[in-house]
């Protein structure tokens, strides 16, 4: 019993001692103290990044910079991209996900695991060879003609393997290359490792990977010239601190911050927004859009930790301001006609919604107005939009003209306003008998007003496009606002205001967890 007791006591004592010796799990050389509240508690939990192991070297550098600058603990978990994605799906324990190739982000987005994404860098496929190799290779055909041992990544397991197979299959050389490949490896780094050790003479890898292999050189060959991978980072939909996650994401993708590090590590970076702790966007939008986008804009600002300065006005006035030199970062027009007028400033618009012109009448329609022609009734007080100041007015004139009643109706027009809201106010005040405005203008006045649909005149429907300015200071941020405006939540906001949804179904920007 004594021996048994001794063993038991010893094991308990050993366990207690080991638990006491267990590292705290917060080792960070050089990390400034995390921000604390008045009670001395750490106010913010660490950011968790799931990062492809191949990006470890550069991510460690960015992480160290970020932690030093902001005193925020960033925990980076490294692993194979697919494994990390599976972990994210099961645990939802990451704020950000940076895979080796953006195809994994697409997969994550399809599974509604990822919300916002930002591109970071590109890598191009090359042949890796030992620096002291005596064989000269200028093309993949040279490799096939030689007795060099070729290794490449498995098409089933690694993105570069799949891309290589697709590219060479299209070129008709895949079978020959496959025949000459002595091994297919699980990752691109394993391919480079094989060449470095000497187990293979040539490997197909990404150029950026070779930065950490000083004994290897990259040989660019024409057969692989069009093969590249895109690295991007995404915010996990399960993140409970999206604003901080997006802060880190903006830091990582800023040219003078994270992208600088990526360049140092041999990556070819993409254009990113300049670094600002809390950037500000300016958005010009037609007045009709205000009720449909206000909530989305507030949510966007809250989630991103940025400020969006909005200018709502008639599109004619907005266009005049832009032509006078006040160009915003983004423009959300009431109708594509007004976007067309500033096409040189906003070259790539995308349609988001549609809104139709209707005839607004007091509840019960006391004047029995059923068509545009009825607006020419003797003594009727009609209000319409100003054709120079807003898209609605311009569209009204076009519709009246198309309907062949322009002259007759204009005789009864007593007021022309720069926005549809003003017409609605005047209708509710009783100063108008009818008004031609957007259906969305009357969305909040269903108790006081009826809307009479204008039929058989296609041009009575306005299309609302959104575009990022060519001169935008933060184009990536403005693009994310676009994604947010095209999200499912935004769609329901638009539809509740009487708009018809035109944007592509919101798979590109899934609903974040709030």
């Amino acid at each position: 019993m004594n021996r048994s007791l001794t063993i038991l006591i010893a094991s308990v004592a050993a366990l207690a001692g080991l638990v006491w010796l267990t590292p705290s799990g917060r080792m960070r050389p050089g990390l400034p103290a995390a921000k604390t509240d008045a009670q001395g508690n750490t106010t913010a939990p660490p950011l968790v990044v799931f990062c492809a192991a191949s990006n470890r070297a550069v991510m460690e550098a960015v992480r160290a910079d970020y932690e030093a600058e902001f005193g925020v603990l960033v925990n980076v978990q490294y692993g194979p991209s697919q494994t990390l994605l599976a972990n994210l799906e099961v645990s939802g324990a990451a704020d950000l996900y940076l895979p080796a190739d953006d195809s994994y982000l697409d997969l994550g987005r399809d599974k509604r695991l990822i919300v916002e994404t930002i591109p970071v860098a590109e890598m191009h496929a090359v042949l890796a060879m030992a620096k002291d190799s005596t064989t000269k290779v200028a093309s993949l055909a040279d490799v096939l003609a030689s007795d060099l041992k070729l290794v490449q990544a498995n098409p089933e397991a690694a993105a570069i393997g799949k891309l290589t197979k697709d590219l060479l299959t299209e070129a008709g050389t895949w079978d020959a290359v496959r025949e000459r490949t002595i091994a297919f490896k699980g990752t691109v780094n394993e391919v480079a490792n094989d060449v470095q050790i000497g187990a293979a003479d040539v490997g197909i890898v990404y150029d950026a990977v070779l930065t950490t292999y000083p004994k290897l050189i990259a040989v660019r060959v024409p057969e692989l010239a069009n093969l590249s991978a895109h690295i991007a980072i995404g915010v996990a939909s399960s993140s409970e601190q999206p604003q901080r996650a997006l802060h880190f994401m903006r830091y990582l993708s800023a040219p003078e911050k994270g992208l600088k590090r990526y360049e140092e590590f041999g990556f070819q970076t993409v254009a990113g927004d300049p670094w600002t702790d809390a950037p500000e966007l300016t958005l010009y939008a037609g007045s009709m859009l205000r009720p449909a986008i206000e909530r989305t804009l507030a949510e966007f600002q809250d989630r991103e930790g940025v400020r969006v300065t909005t200018v709502f006005n008639g599109c004619g006035i907005l266009v005049a301001q832009m032509k006078a030199g006040h160009v915003p970062d983004a423009y959300f027009a009431c109708d594509s006609e007004f976007m067309q007028q500033v096409h040189d400033l906003f070259p790539a618009p995308t349609d988001v919604s549609q809104n139709e012109l209707v005839i607004l009448v007091p509840k019960g329609n006391p004047q029995q107005i059923k068509s545009l022609l009825d607006l020419s009734k003797e003594g009727l007080r009609v209000g319409i939009g100003h054709e120079k100041q807003c898209a609605m007015g311009w569209l009204t004139q076009k519709t009246l003209k198309e309907g062949g009643v322009q002259t007759e109706v204009m005789k009864n027009v007593t007021v022309q306003t720069p926005t549809g809201d003003m017409l609605v106010n005047q209708m509710r005040a009783g100063s108008l008998d009818a008004a031609v405005a957007y259906l969305s203008n009357a969305a909040g006045s269903a108790k006081e007003l009826d809307a009479i649909r204008i039929t058989n005149i296609p041009c009575s429907v306005a299309t609302q496009p959104y575009a990022v300015a060519q001169s935008a200071k933060y184009p990536r941020l403005a693009e994310r606002l676009q994604q947010r405006l095209k999200s499912a939540e935004s769609q329901s906001q638009f539809e509740s205001q009487g708009f018809v949804w035109k944007a592509r179904p919101a798979t590109a920007a899934v609903a974040p967890k709030e």
Partner: protein, 284 residues
């Protein structure tokens, strides 16, 4: 030919026996030694690939120092916990026939045969599966204040999950080899089952316990897949030496990964030698 001619004399048999012995030992040594030679050759190749400078550099890195400390502590905790579980379980499986014994026996082998990544994934799913509003990890993290996933306890649990299976197998074999009659005699003399176990069986199982501890510790040291999936490989947090090798390898730092591998070998040798010394038969 006389009978005497056909039977070799003792004098003439000696050289033949010597030849036979030489062939025996030569063949056995050649076959068995080839494996030993393979291990020595691999270690030699590792040592040739790296330099003392690489090992020194690795040892000076705070992240590696942290990984060494965490590895030593987590492997030891995992090994001790394995013994605590393996001793009673091995004893029950060895001594008693109970309903579902075959099932328990089979289940214990699952962590051994399961691919390591699957084991890690299973742990991850277990801790994050929702039962209504309850999720084990959320409860541990928020209510108990003891996060497991992607934290140090996750490392220990991942190591324990595999190491314990090996420890149970060892402890069962140990108790199988101990004659149960001594315990039966103790019981006829008035001992309870507890007393029979603690007075008679447990002291005799001492060597088996040390062996199981050794196996569990060594198994924990080499564990990689479940740790990567369940505990992650966060520098300065859940990074143990096996994940360090993976992380260094994944960025092409072969010298560092080999240096860390050799460190692991050195650690394993030291611990195994100490445990073997404890295990050694005392000289009479």
């Amino acid at each position: 030919m006389s009978r005497m001619d056909s039977v070799p004399t003792t004098h003439s048999r000696l050289p033949r026996r010597r030849v036979s012995d030489a062939v025996f030992f030569g063949t056995m040594s050649l076959l068995g030694g080839s494996y030993v030679l393979l291990i020595v050759a691999m270690l030699g190749a590792d040592a040739y690939y790296t330099t003392p400078g690489h090992i020194r550099d690795a040892l000076l890195k705070p992240e590696i120092q942290y990984a060494i400390r965490l590895t030593l502590v987590s492997c030891s905790i995992s090994a001790i916990l394995s013994i605590w579980v393996a001793t009673p379980l091995g004893y029950l499986l060895s001594r008693y026939r109970f309903p579902g014994r075959w099932l328990v026996d089979t289940l214990i082998d699952i962590p051994i045969v399961l691919p390591p990544l699957v084991l890690g994934l299973s742990l991850l799913i277990l801790f994050h599966l929702r039962f209504g509003d309850f999720r084990l990890e959320d409860w541990l993290r928020k209510d108990v204040g003891f996060p497991v996933t992607y934290a140090v306890p996750g490392v220990i649990l991942a190591q324990f999950s595999v190491a314990c299976a090996f420890a149970v197998r060892t402890m069962r074999s140990t108790f199988d080899e101990i004659d149960p009659r001594a315990e039966a005699v103790a019981r006829t003399l008035g001992c309870s089952r507890w007393q029979a176990f603690f007075y008679v069986a447990f002291p005799q199982a001492w060597r088996g316990i040390v062996t199981a501890l050794t196996i569990a510790w060594a198994r924990s040291l080499g564990e990689f897949g479940p740790i990567l999936v369940f505990a992650g490989a966060t520098r300065g947090q859940t990074e143990v030496l096996s994940t360090t090798v993976f992380l260094e390898l994944s960025v092409g730092n072969l010298e560092a990964s080999v240096a860390v591998s050799l460190l692991m070998v050195a650690m394993a040798v030291i611990v195994l030698v100490v445990l073997r010394a404890l295990h050694a038969e005392p000289r009479s």
